[in-house]
């Protein structure tokens, strides 16, 4: 049913439809509305057989999630920014233990300077943590991805972060087609853990692995992560069969002239690559740019981990130039996403431009995006650009 909902409320309801056994969270903007809503659902009995635990830190939130998941429970938590960093040790531990926890990251930057606004520095800082990271373009995808995340995580025993831009999505009120309980039940089987704490079959979970075996554990993680690309694609297809819309593709082409979401880029086109809500604004300017002779081939990444290198390279196709809108940078190197794109493009002659956009909540305007793309079209865009950089401030410092 189509409803008008704040993103956070919609996500909370989607999580509720997945019937978690345990929800544990520590409040941090902009994640708060999600967990507030879930605590209310538990208190009012809308979410039954579920325990909501007010923990004392994000580190404890992930630790409680680890215990609950290891005991065979379906677990949910949410965080952002400093909170994700504070739980980082446990984040790596959860994936190492193969626990299919689902966590929303309400993407927010990382301080100092302290800043509560949106970019994607937080989840991207955890890119090597062994978690899957799925990125939502809008709140419909945010809702759908949580349901997909439980299905996939529990199947492959890898935890998943569902990343949605903080404030821009979490606090935006949009029309969302809320799934029904019947749909979710048809799509998401009850959780049967691969192994769990079991009094009838005692196991030791989390043993020490010496040099004789550690490399193998990492190799197996790597292999499982690679396998997750195809599985995500398949699960996305199964999702469409039940819910009537395709959500969760690791790579999709947006607004293609023929409506296809996997058409490769053509010579003369500018491939524009991004993750998250900025894709919406890029979609909005696509027709205008096209009309003015700037043909942008818009590629949305739905997953950063696993990184769908092959599908991305195929989607870029023969595009003459690549512009990546980076929502997080590796200081001293450049964009996080563009670094990964560059690796996926190995052998491609197309120049790649990294554009750091919307850091710490700097509004990403249609005009600024269009100007960047036009610059690229004219061959005037440098390799790394900080969009809308305030020269007056920079000059004062230097």
């Amino acid at each position: 049913m189509h409803e008008l909902l704040e993103g956070s409320q919609a996500v909370a309801r989607a999580v509720g439809l997945c019937h978690p056994d345990v929800v544990c969270a520590y409040p941090i903007s902009p994640q708060t509305h999600i967990v507030e809503a879930l605590s209310g659902m538990v208190r009012t009995g809308k979410l039954v057989n579920c325990d909501y635990i007010n923990v004392e830190s994000e580190f404890a939130a992930m630790s409680v999630a680890i215990g609950a998941s290891a005991a065979g429970g379906r677990v949910y938590t949410a965080t952002a920014s400093q909170g994700l960093l504070y739980m980082a040790e446990a984040v790596y531990n959860a994936s190492g233990l193969g626990l299919p926890i689902v966590m929303t990251v309400a993407n927010r930057t990382i301080g100092a300077p302290i800043n509560i606004w949106n970019d994607q520095s937080d989840s991207l800082s955890q890119r090597d943590s062994g978690w899957l990271q799925l990125f939502a373009i809008d709140n419909q995808e945010a809702v759908d991805l949580h349901i997909i995340a439980y299905r996939l995580a529990e199947e492959i025993s890898i935890p998943i972060m569902v990343c949605m831009d903080g404030f821009v999505l979490t606090h935006a009120t949009d029309v969302v087609d809320m799934p029904t309980q019947e749909q979710v039940d048809a799509f998401l089987p009850s959780f049967t853990p691969r192994e769990s704490l079991d009094i009838d079959n005692p196991r030791s979970i989390g043993m020490m692995a010496g040099p004789d075996i550690f490399t193998e554990t990492k190799y197996l993680s790597h292999r499982a992560m690679l396998g997750a690309i195809d599985r995500l694609e398949e699960v996305s297809g199964e999702f469409e069969a039940i819910f009537g819309r395709r959500t969760g593709r690791p790579v999709r082409v947006l607004g293609a002239a023929n409506g296809s979401d996997s058409v490769p880029g053509r010579h003369g086109q500018i491939a524009v690559i991004a993750m998250g809500s900025v894709l919406g604004t890029l979609q909005a300017i696509q027709p205008v740019l096209r009309a003015s002779g700037v043909d942008i081939h818009l590629i949305g990444l739905g997953a950063f981990r696993p990184f769908p290198s092959r599908a991305l390279a195929a989607a870029i196709g023969q595009a003459s130039r690549v512009v990546v809108f980076d929502r997080a940078i590796q200081v001293g190197i450049g964009g996080v996403l563009s670094g990964a794109v560059r690796r996926a493009m190995k052998g491609s002659p197309a120049p790649l431009h990294s554009v750091a956009a919307g850091l710490g909540g700097r509004p990403i305007t249609e005009d600024s995006l269009a100007a960047i793309v036009r610059q690229a079209h004219a061959g005037d865009l440098s390799d790394l650009t900080f969009m809308d950089l305030r020269d007056d401030v920079i000059e004062k410092v230097s």
Partner: protein, 224 residues
């Protein structure tokens, strides 16, 4: 696309207003989007909310830079900033103030010059009658409905009912109705100043306990 910017101060219900406005537009068949402009706002700090109406799916996520309409919840903002910045030509504005439209135009030169496109109303006075405190968002939406015709008064009432219950709901709806009628009654009288205050009504006002808590669940107060 029809884009509305709502200006107010933390605690006045800016975020609630932009969401209620979206709900009213949704009821009227529009595709809608409401995005609050967030910060570590505290009670009294200027807050902005953005609402979009569209006949087709809304893709953009940029803040509204060139609104088609502006709603000003707090009279003191007129002298503190330019709430009409970027207002499209032929744009609309509904302003909570006791000043007349022309006085508003004098204070703020970007206010809509088009006759019939600027409504001023003493919304605080109206709302105080029904709620006992100045939370003018629903009243301004009533005024917006009368001014632009983009939404109906009934859809404002429905949006209020979706969020509030009991006397808080009925007080807000009554305020919206009075505000709606105020704009209707003053249509074409732009040069007539709004009187200081309104006739007092015998309303069953909500108690402190019935009013929404200022902090709990208020999206305008965010902790960094």
């Amino acid at each position: 696309m029809f884009q509305i910017v709502i200006h107010g101060r933390g605690g006045q219900g800016v975020v609630t207003a932009s969401e209620m406005l979206a709900r009213a537009g949704f009821a009227g068949g529009f595709q809608v989007q409401a995005i609050p402009s967030f910060g570590s706002e505290r009670t009294g700090a200027p807050v902005v909310g953005y609402t979009r109406f569209s006949e087709s799916k809304i893709f953009t996520r940029e803040p509204i830079l060139t609104p088609d309409a502006v709603i000003v919840l707090d009279p003191t903002l007129l002298r503190a900033m330019n709430p009409f910045h970027g207002l499209a030509s032929g744009g609309w504005a509904a302003v909570n103030t006791r000043e007349s439209p022309n006085e508003v135009r004098r204070i703020s030169p970007d206010a809509p010059p088009t006759p019939g496109h600027l409504a001023t109303l003493p919304a605080d006075d109206i709302v105080r009658e029904y709620l006992g405190r100045p939370i003018p968002s629903a009243a301004l939406l009533g005024a917006f409905a009368a001014l632009t015709g983009k939404i109906t008064l009934q859809s404002v009432a429905d949006a209020v009912t979706h969020l509030f219950k009991g006397k808080v709901a009925s007080g807000n709806i009554a305020s919206a109705e009075v505000a709606y009628k105020w704009v209707e009654d003053h249509r074409g009288q732009e040069d007539v100043g709004a009187p200081n205050g309104i006739a007092h009504v015998d309303a069953d006002r909500p108690t402190e306990a019935e009013l929404p808590h200022a902090l709990i669940g208020s999206p305008e107060v965010s902790n960094a």
